[in-house]
């Protein structure tokens, strides 16, 4: 949705962490992006590469782990997998499913030098 802002947010976190740790370079960044986070992963990669130019993380490798979407079906009272936020319960077809997982957008770890 706003991958450029997200890439800028990631860069800020990297710069802060690198400053705290007296790192000269960030060589890899590990992200966790939920399947239901409305983030276009390919677009985020593109924006990340553009945003880190001339920064401490220029050329850094971006590793993205996708977290699966899960929901709680109010009719089945069960946790069910969700492929998008509007999907029906795969067990009973109800749309009364509350998203419980898969909306994460986190920087998990960094490789620094």
């Amino acid at each position: 949705m706003h991958e450029m802002s997200l890439a800028e947010g990631i860069l800020q976190l990297l710069e802060d962490a690198a400053r705290r740790e007296n790192a000269r370079r960030v060589s890899a960044v590990f992200l966790e992006i939920g399947q239901l986070a409305s983030v276009e992963v390919e677009s985020l990669r593109f924006c990340f590469d553009a945003v880190v130019k001339d920064s401490i993380a220029e050329g850094a490798r971006l590793e993205i782990v996708e977290a699966p979407g899960t929901g709680w079906c109010l009719d089945c009272s069960q946790s069910v997998p969700m492929s998008d936020k509007l999907s029906a319960c795969p067990r009973c077809g109800s749309f009364r499913v509350q998203v419980t997982g898969g909306t994460e957008m986190r920087v998990k770890e960094l490789e620094i030098e």
């Binding site: 706003h2 802002s5 490789e111 620094i112």
Partner: protein
């Protein structure tokens, strides 16, 4: 450089917020809560061979939007201190947000002070329209940006005098996608859908309708001239967000404006 927090905006312009050094990008903030010093290095894969830089892994586990969320918390605390009720108004461009705001301000005259933060990519036209009603307004121009964030809004709030128990209306950039993800410190997001748009907008842009607590269905005076199915639009919004409240309004004729003001006054 900004004297409040040391920031230097590149593209963003906030009325009354001066930056002497536009090229300073050092976002070192003095406020508590912005820094999360819990990162720690572990499992060093160090190489002590001459000429090699030792690389190590650093676990940080931070939300990508954590900076924005920290600013939003500050804004919320600032507003709570003054008992100011803030709403974040979101919609597509052209849904009638500014006209609705002008009408709201007019109807609240003498009952409650209203201040407005206007977000647009360019121009201060909207802030000027608001100021013409007598209410104070600050325009934020986001430049290339597609949404307001909590940091810009924090600065804009400093430019306004916000009396106790007043109302702060934040008119976001006309965009049904990006503003959904950015908490500004508001009490509620209010989404405005005009009846000249499609009934299926909530299904096409679910994140925004899920983030909002109230949907104002605007321009209802035009319904006789359109083939817009109100029930279908409400059903689409409820499918995305079963808890969303809906009020039909027309900022032009005043229809439904009483219900909208009652909603406001009940929460303020």
């Amino acid at each position: 450089m900004c004297t409040t927090c040391g920031c230097g905006h590149d593209e963003t312009k906030i009325e009354g917020h001066a930056h002497e050094h536009g090229h300073d990008h050092d976002h070192e903030h003095g406020h508590d809560g912005h820094h999360h010093h819990h990162g720690h290095a572990y499992a060093p894969r160090r190489s002590h061979a001459p000429g090699m830089t030792p690389a190590r892994m650093l676990k940080i586990e931070q939300d990508i939007l954590s900076k924005n969320d920290a600013y939003a918390r500050e804004n919320r605390a600032f507003l709570a201190d003054r008992r100011v009720f803030a709403l974040n108004l979101v919609s597509s461009p052209g849904s009638g947000k500014t006209t609705l705001l002008c009408k709201t301000i007019e109807m609240l005259k003498g009952q409650c002070a209203v201040a407005v933060i206007e977000g647009d990519q360019q121009t201060s036209n909207d802030a000027e329209r608001i100021r013409a009603t007598g209410a104070p307004a600050v325009q934020i121009n986001t430049g290339k940006g597609c949404h307001l964030d909590a940091h810009m809004v924090g600065h804009a709030m400093q430019q306004l005098s916000l009396p106790e128990r007043s109302l702060l209306m934040i008119e976001n950039v006309g965009n049904l996608v990006c503003p959904a993800a950015f908490d500004l410190g508001e009490a509620h997001k209010v989404v405005i859908l005009s009846v000249t748009e499609g009934e299926d907008k909530p299904l096409k842009y679910p994140d925004m309708f899920r983030a909002a607590d109230l949907m104002l269905l605007n321009k209802c005076d035009l319904l006789p001239h359109l083939r817009f199915d109100v029930d279908q639009a409400i059903e689409a919004a409820r499918r995305v967000n079963p808890a969303i409240q809906v009020i039909r309004v027309s900022a032009t004729t005043g229809e439904g404006m009483g219900d909208w003001l009652a909603w406001l006054q009940a929460r303020r």
